[in-house]
Symmetry: C2
Subunit: 129 residues, 2 copies
């Protein structure tokens, strides 16, 4: 049981939209991802999803009952996207995010638009220092 320095962990991989599981909390994963460009519209029907912006800037497009809107997250900010809410993250170059969700949650949700090649459809990758 050793602490993980997020900056050091980020230096160990290059792929964007391909989260690494840096630690777990009970049956939840704490996932670290680089982000750049557009993710994909998707929805998690049965779980909320927590975002913390480590570096850069993340925008999350949301489809809500009153329509679509973009929420901008600067570094050091957090947001929980409620279950059942279609969303599409997109990010400036150099963005890194921390995600929290139940282990086994797919990055592209239970339903999604066609997944582009630069988006990794995964339940997160093991990571070790």
């Amino acid at each position: 049981m050793e602490p993980v320095a997020l900056t050091e962990a980020l230096a160990t991989f290059d792929a964007v939209w391909s989260p690494r599981i840096v630690t777990t909390v009970n049956d939840y994963d704490v996932r670290l991802a680089k982000a750049e460009g557009e993710h994909v519209w998707h929805v998690h029907e049965d779980t909320d999803e927590f975002f913390l912006v480590v570096t850069g800037e993340l925008t999350i497009a949301l489809r809500e009952k009153d329509g679509e809107r973009d929420v901008v997250l600067p570094p050091g900010s957090v947001l929980t996207v409620p279950r059942g809410t279609w969303h599409k993250p997109f990010a400036a170059p150099g963005t890194a995010i921390l995600l929290l969700e139940p282990a086994g949650t797919p990055t592209t949700g239970d339903a999604h638009d066609p997944v582009p090649d630069h988006v990794d459809s995964t339940t997160g990758h093991a990571w070790h220092p």
Copy 2:
């Protein structure tokens, strides 16, 4: 559903070791706390506890089977303390931490040493922007 800037949230309260619930993820709380000086030896028998250091430096003393040791977390680092592990955080002035644990988890665990006046024994306080 609006993002929370952690620095701005920290500016809204002064108490140390008295977490504010800044968002929730399913039945988990994301709690933000100022930290300074010693917390108290305690144990969560049934849940892991996740720490992320926002500013300052957090040290977590741990009682493990081979004895006691201190783990130092600089800003931008994370650690999960496993369930059943006695631990005592302590912090440099100006430290702020983000915690993740099941809603209802007491800050002083299921068992603890005598709680000093400067430590708030709570399940977290509601927080609104």
